[in-house]
């Protein structure tokens, strides 16, 4: 941070983008700053503080849940809308991340723009089929969450574009979801394994299933074979085997793969 020459405090997304895209400034956007304030690259010369941007609201729009990228973990934890969505999994994810002092500062936008493998929101939002609104030079784009980290996107949030909101589709409102975060303590920021599940039961099999794995690879990923096993009603053992095979393919490591599949089996047996 010693190379910083300017601090910018934009009050609109347009102003923020103007600084971000002006090569003279070599700017980097910082939201809560909890993940990156101490590790700013030396090449950054302008600290672009996003705290004054009007992107903090949590609201319903067209039946979808829209979370402003500047909403803090604390805002999300306390939001009635988030608590009532998908079994409260979004609020629970915020509440179980680190300490209250961090939750007061950290934002959902920052958590997904700087995706450490152990971050919680990329896992939950991928499981909820969320979309992300990105503001870039050519205007706003609504991007599927699963495309956010792919090179095909052609944008690097925080460096040449800004995440302004996260849109969680209306169809997920009644989904039964849960997640398991295996970490040193209940509120540790860094998890060893994060698993997100969602399943709708009809008879013995599931009508809808989502399995997302986090912390075992640089980016979270869905486990389609495990989802198929859940949908076919093959039972917990078979679904856990399918997940284990997918984790092995992702080179997740023997111990963590084994632990993740066991946690998954327990979840299925409790749900289906």
């Amino acid at each position: 941070m010693k190379n910083i020459k300017y601090y910018a405090f934009p009050s609109s997304v347009k102003e923020a983008l103007a600084v971000l895209l002006n090569k003279k400034y070599k700017a980097m956007a910082l939201a809560g700053g909890t993940l990156v304030a101490k590790t700013l690259p030396d090449t950054v010369e302008t600290y672009l503080d996003l705290k004054n941007l009007p992107i903090k609201s949590i609201r319903l729009h067209g039946g979808n849940l829209v979370i402003g990228a500047g909403a803090t973990f604390d805002d999300i934890d306390r939001s009635k809308l988030c608590r009532g969505w998908a079994g409260g999994v979004i609020s629970a994810a915020a509440a179980r991340c680190s300490s209250q002092l961090i939750r007061n500062m950290a934002t959902i936008g920052g958590n997904i723009a700087r995706p450490h493998s152990f971050n919680i929101f990329p896992v939950v939002l991928l499981g909820l089929d969320a979309k992300v609104r990105l503001q870039a030079k050519k205007g706003a784009r609504l991007v599927d969450f699963q495309d956010l980290y792919t090179s095909g996107l052609g944008l690097r949030p925080g460096l040449d574009s800004l995440i302004t909101e996260i849109v969680v589709p209306a169809r997920t409102k009644k989904w039964k979801c849960d997640f398991i975060k295996l970490a040193k303590t209940a509120s540790s920021w860094e998890s060893y394994i994060t698993l997100f599940f969602s399943a709708e039961k009809k008879g013995r099999s599931a009508t809808q299933a989502r399995v997302v794995v986090g912390a075992l690879s640089p980016r979270p990923f869905r486990a389609p074979e495990a989802e198929k096993a859940m949908l076919s009603g093959a039972g917990g053992q078979a679904a856990a085997r399918a997940l284990a095979a997918e984790l092995e393919a992702a080179r997740a490591g023997e111990y963590r793969s084994s632990a993740a599949s066991s946690l998954f089996k327990r979840f299925i047996e409790g749900q289906i």
């Binding site: 010693k2 601090y7 405090f9 700053g33 007061n104």
Partner: protein, 167 residues
Amino acid sequence: MKNGMIRTNKGFFEITVTVNGEKKELSVKNGEFLLDALRRHGWKGTKKGCDTGDCGSCAVLLNGKPVLGCLAPAVTAHGGVLTTIEGLGTVHAPHPLQRAFVEAGAVQCGFCIPGMILSSKHLLDRTPDPTDAEIRKALDGNLCRCTGYVKQVEAVKNAAKRLKAKC
């Protein structure tokens, strides 16, 4: 731009911030965090513990919310309102929370207490009658190595009662 863009001048940024009710012009070093800037300017009630965002002893209220002084760059306070432990009460006229901490025996070495009291103040500002669970959640970022937190929880509950009676 609101509060505009500020530029470094010989390694320092000039910021305007209200600290404990007084508007101040502060020079903060390039790369300096809020904790270090506050202590350098004399607000030494803000304690330097882990310096990595884990212990909470550096907590201050920025625009009413407790934040970690060791993780917030000092310049981010520009245009804001800061409350440190010095702004809460004095030896002769302590804040009800400070009085409750003393009376409950919640202070041993005392190093974590400024952060803990500021976190508690924020809790009571928005939840005047907190449950034990709410108190423990609000204080989960303030580590105390002397006690088992029982006395602090008791102190916050007593302060809540006292503040309620005052209203």
